[in-house]
């Protein structure tokens, strides 16, 4: 039995899932009640920076308009300022990219729903990123606009004032100073894999890879006298894949605290560790992408696009000649040859999808796979990819639920009972964040890491159900940073 009497039956078990889903609810409700403090001035500064960045990008995008077409664009832009085009208008962007600059000429391009224009959606632009430098600028502009409108401008106005003093009328806590806090809604019944979703505002999709995205996160702060403790599971999905599919080589790597991406590269390319380390972009990066791509059921095309966009496009490195769709297909094939158990595991999920119309994770949560009934191969394939992913992502989300519940019990019985301030703030996928009295940060971090790491250990017998070590890494900080 795991925490709260939860079992790992390995077959559909609605009762087990019902109990599990209720366990973390007290902590989630506290997260929604207490909210996450933000630094409104910081958000305003980021908003201003984003505005400057957007203006610069706008100018750069407009500079690609050929002089002969400039007047035509200005006439159409319909803007009061002196910019040559409205970059926010998909129609004008389509005119520039596809009709004027002829990007993607001769390739099959997706059109908008109405069919009147070529789509300027993110997925399409990502594919075209290497064709022309303006695409990268448009994508950057869009990211800045999203960060500014959704977060930098919006969060300060959504924040609720918790006045200084005892017994705050909103959360009941004692605040040393006026604090503005964001109260997101955490939804436990929205995703197919059991993960949590968040809305008003959605704090789960703040992009963290870009500097400005990270700066938005840094606007979430600890209140004076407190620190933030963020603990997340390290490579949890890959570890769960190794565990669920009994992937011997991956289990070995994790048991010896090795780097799975380097090992994948060594096996796939038949080279030594030193050679991998000497050219990480060539060997380790694709291996890392594949390792995660398999968990998320990515196709060779998806992998190709990811490598082009992430490893090269965003870094501004020219895409090498060897990186082709065929190379990705071959690499994926090799990957499955190295980790043969994963192929068998995927076959089992496909069998379950066809036979029962569903797949399930170890705790017993099910996901229906109606797609296998379709006559369209692409729909069946999409369904089977999701079927392969669910038991892994599902189990990872069950772990975080168990951990949140167990930590909450520890917080109530061991921490708050001693008058120490410790409140849960947020959970984002495999990360949990707490606000703690600064003098206790280090001690509580160690304990929380321990609870999270031992989540699959039987509470009665001490038996470890997981064949792979589960690692949780905590970080103490003043601002929410990666």
């Amino acid at each position: 039995m795991l925490y709260g009497g939860i079992k790992l039956p390995g077959c559909p078990d609605f009762e087990n899932v019902r109990k599990l889903d209720l366990l973390p609810m007290p902590a989630l409700m506290e997260m929604m009640k207490y909210g996450f403090a933000i630094d409104r001035d910081h958000m305003h500064v980021i908003g201003d920076k984003l505005a400057v960045e957007m203006a610069e990008l706008k100018l750069e995008i407009c500079s690609y308009i050929p002089e002969s077409k400039l007047e035509e664009f200005i006439a159409k832009s319909n803007l009061d300022d002196d910019s040559a085009m409205n970059v926010d208008s998909n129609q004008q962007l389509c005119e520039l990219l596809f009709n004027t600059l002829n990007i993607g000429h001769g390739r099959e391009l997706k059109r908008t729903k109405s069919g009147t224009h070529i789509s300027t959606g993110r997925r399409q632009l990502e594919k075209l990123r290497i064709d022309h430098p303006v695409i990268g600028k448009v994508l950057n502009y869009r990211e800045c606009a999203k960060l500014k409108n959704t977060y930098a401008d919006n969060l300060p106005s959504m924040a609720v004032l918790h006045p200084a003093g005892r017994n705050c009328n909103i959360c009941g806590l004692h605040h040393h100073a006026d604090t503005y806090r964001i109260h997101t809604q955490i939804l436990s019944t929205r995703t197919a894999t059991g993960r949590y979703a968040s809305k008003d505002p959605n704090l789960q999709n703040i992009p963290i890879r870009s500097l400005l995205g990270a700066a938005i996160r840094a606007g979430f702060v600890a209140t004076p006298g407190c620190v933030l403790l963020s603990v997340d599971y390290s490579q949890i999905e890959l570890r769960m894949l190794a565990f669920v599919a009994c992937v011997k080589k991956l289990i070995e790597v994790f048991l010896h605290n090795g780097d799975p991406h380097t090992v994948t590269a060594m096996e796939a390319f038949g080279i030594t560790e030193a050679q991998v380390n000497a050219d990480k972009i060539r060997y380790r990066n694709p291996s890392k992408n594949v390792n995660f791509a398999v968990v998320f059921g990515e196709t060779a095309l998806g992998l190709f696009e990811q490598l082009v966009a992430d490893s090269y496009g965003k870094a501004g490195i020219p895409v090498p000649e060897w990186l082709t769709l065929e190379w990705c297909e071959e690499f994926l094939r090799k990957w499955f040859d190295i980790y043969t158990e994963v192929r068998e595991y995927m076959e089992l999920q496909a069998y379950r999808s066809y036979r029962y119309g569903m797949v399930w994770d170890m705790v017993g949560r099910i996901r229906l796979v109606p797609e296998v009934k379709s006559v369209h191969k692409r729909i069946v394939a999409a369904g089977l990819r999701q079927a392969g992913n669910m038991p892994i992502q599902g189990l990872a989300s069950e772990l975080i639920k168990l951990a949140i519940a167990e930590i909450q019990e520890f917080v109530i019985t061991e921490v708050r009972s001693q008058g120490i301030h410790c409140i849960p703030l947020l959970t984002v996928h495999d990360e949990v964040i707490y606000e703690i009295d600064e003098s206790w940060g280090g001690v509580i971090k160690e304990i929380v890491e321990g609870i999270m790491g031992n989540v699959l250990i039987d509470k009665d017998t001490g038996e470890d159900y997981c064949t792979v070590p589960i690692k949780a890494e905590g970080k103490i900080m003043q601002r929410w940073e990666k």
Binding site: F14, L22, M25, T189, M358, L368, E371, S374, A382, G383
Partner: protein, 468 residues
């Protein structure tokens, strides 16, 4: 097909004496070449996936579209498109085919009958009227939905499978031997629903007595009016519920004592969307209690909607008015009264007359400066009276600044009336609120039954299947 408006039109397809007519949305690109409705990728899915689930073949059903002309390719048909085609074509097709069952696939086709909420009623047949004639109507999701949003295929597959079961049941029922509603639930369990307002301490004790003590599960729901806790409802047995008003502090204390006693005796509270109710129950004196959440349970079973009213309809066969349908009309009346008072105040205090004189010094007609607030309030009042669907609360916040609203609230001594349960009649309050608690309990019991059926997993033949 001849079109009086000069468009290229794609007519229906199938036997003219078909028992079942399927009505889709509008022709797509492929249909414009084949001149036959539902022949593209959606048609393929419809013919080979969904119809066989109901034991039907394409050649035995008549298939047509709501909108026949091809000008709507790649766009959603407008109301004008629908009106144009329906009047001149669909009506005559129905006359020609005279089907017994009309399957309306998708929102466009369902818009032919008012009051179809696809989210709630998809897949459930009912006796309905179309162009003045009676048919068995079956609202369904459009088969194209499954291509765009593949998880919607669960509903489509379940609906078509159940529809097939229902056709078989109907055939057997024609002999007059069956009394239920086939695979669909029917709300015939309770001819009388025992919903009462708790008026005295004795009422609570009697209700627990009638229920035979403390039951295993107690359905509970709370109602708030704006930010004020209004009432709490509880159901000890399906078909019954009681309501306690929060303003009656003495009764609330008594209710809390009874509930705490029930919890000590291992009763479990059942809520629907617990995070919304728990803070209210905490304020009412119930804290840290064991509970179930029927919204979570619906989510875990994967094939049910999560909204309470939709669940009630699909699992219990109860059709109920939504919160908005229940509270909007009476709340609107109260708001209109507030608007009238505000207008009177604005006319007397915010609008002023500018006295004017001619060049010769003779007084002329004074100029009336109507305040923008008064203009906005009058316009809002007019719209709210003339249109039922007008979102007067949303527009009020849009058109009148919060400072002006604050001023009006202060001088009238009353806040802007929100949309809420308080303005309903006591009878409506009781029926609506008690139904929520009653349905929550009934759903918990139904989910318990479904969970107990489990999923029979037998993978003994897996190795053999793999070898094949």
């Amino acid at each position: 097909m001849n079109c009086p408006n000069g468009f290229k039109c794609i007519g229906g397809d199938g036997p003219v004496n078909a028992e079942i007519m399927c009505v889709g949305e509008a022709p797509g690109k492929v249909e414009s070449y084949t001149n036959i409705p539902l022949t593209g990728p959606t048609g393929l899915e419809f013919n080979q996936t969904y119809l066989p689930l109901a034991g039907l073949k394409r050649e035995n059903v008549y298939v047509t579209n709501t909108v026949k002309h091809t000008s709507t390719i790649n766009r959603k048909p407008t109301e004008a498109d629908i009106k144009m085609c329906v009047e001149c074509k669909l009506r005559s097709e129905l006359l020609k085919v005279k089907p017994e069952i009309v399957i309306l696939m998708g929102a466009t086709a369902c818009s032919l009958i008012s009051d179809i909420d696809l989210d709630t009623s998809h897949g459930v047949p009912f006796q309905g009227e179309l162009f003045g004639w009676e048919y068995i109507i079956v609202p369904m999701w459009h088969p194209a939905l499954g291509l765009h949003k593949t998880n919607a295929m669960t509903d489509l597959i379940d609906d078509w499978t159940k529809f097939g079961e229902w056709l078989k049941w109907r055939e057997a029922d024609s002999l007059g031997v069956l009394v239920d509603n086939g695979p669909y639930p029917i709300d015939n369990q309770f001819f009388f629903r025992d919903y009462q307002l708790i008026k005295s301490v004795r009422d609570i004790a009697e209700y627990f007595d009638d229920a035979g003590g403390y039951p295993k599960l107690i359905g509970v729901d709370t109602e708030s009016h704006g930010s004020v806790d209004f009432s709490v409802q509880f159901s000890l047995a399906p078909g019954s519920a009681r309501m306690v008003l929060c303003e009656d502090l003495g009764l609330m204390d008594e209710w809390q004592a009874w509930m705490n006693e029930a919890l000590v005796c291992n009763s479990e509270i059942v809520l629907h969307n617990a995070p919304a109710d728990i803070p209210v129950l905490n304020r009412l004196g119930l804290s840290e209690f064991p509970y179930r959440d029927t919204m979570q349970e619906a989510y875990q079973l994967c094939r049910y909607p999560q909204a309470l009213k939709a669940l009630s309809y699909r699992l219990l066969g109860r059709k109920r008015k939504s919160w908005s349908e229940t509270v909007t009309p009476p709340s609107k009346l109260v708001l209109q009264q507030w608007l009238l008072e505000s207008i009177t105040y604005a006319e007397n205090n915010l609008t002023y007359c500018e006295k004017r004189w001619s060049k010769s010094g003779k007084p002329i007609k004074p100029k009336v400066h109507v305040s923008p607030v008064e203009k906005a309030l009058k316009s809002l009042l007019g719209h709210s009276i003339s249109s039922e669907s007008y979102d007067v609360w949303g527009k009020l916040r849009e058109r009148v600044s919060s400072a002006d609203l604050g001023l009006l609230e202060e001088v009238l001594g009353q806040e802007v009336p929100v949309k809420g349960i308080k303005y309903c009649s006591l009878e409506e309050q009781l029926y609506y609120s008690a139904s929520d608690a009653d349905d929550t309990l009934a759903l918990a019991l139904e989910f318990e039954r479904i969970r107990s059926l489990g999923v029979d997993v037998n993978e003994d033949d897996y190795d053999a299947v793999r070898r094949d």
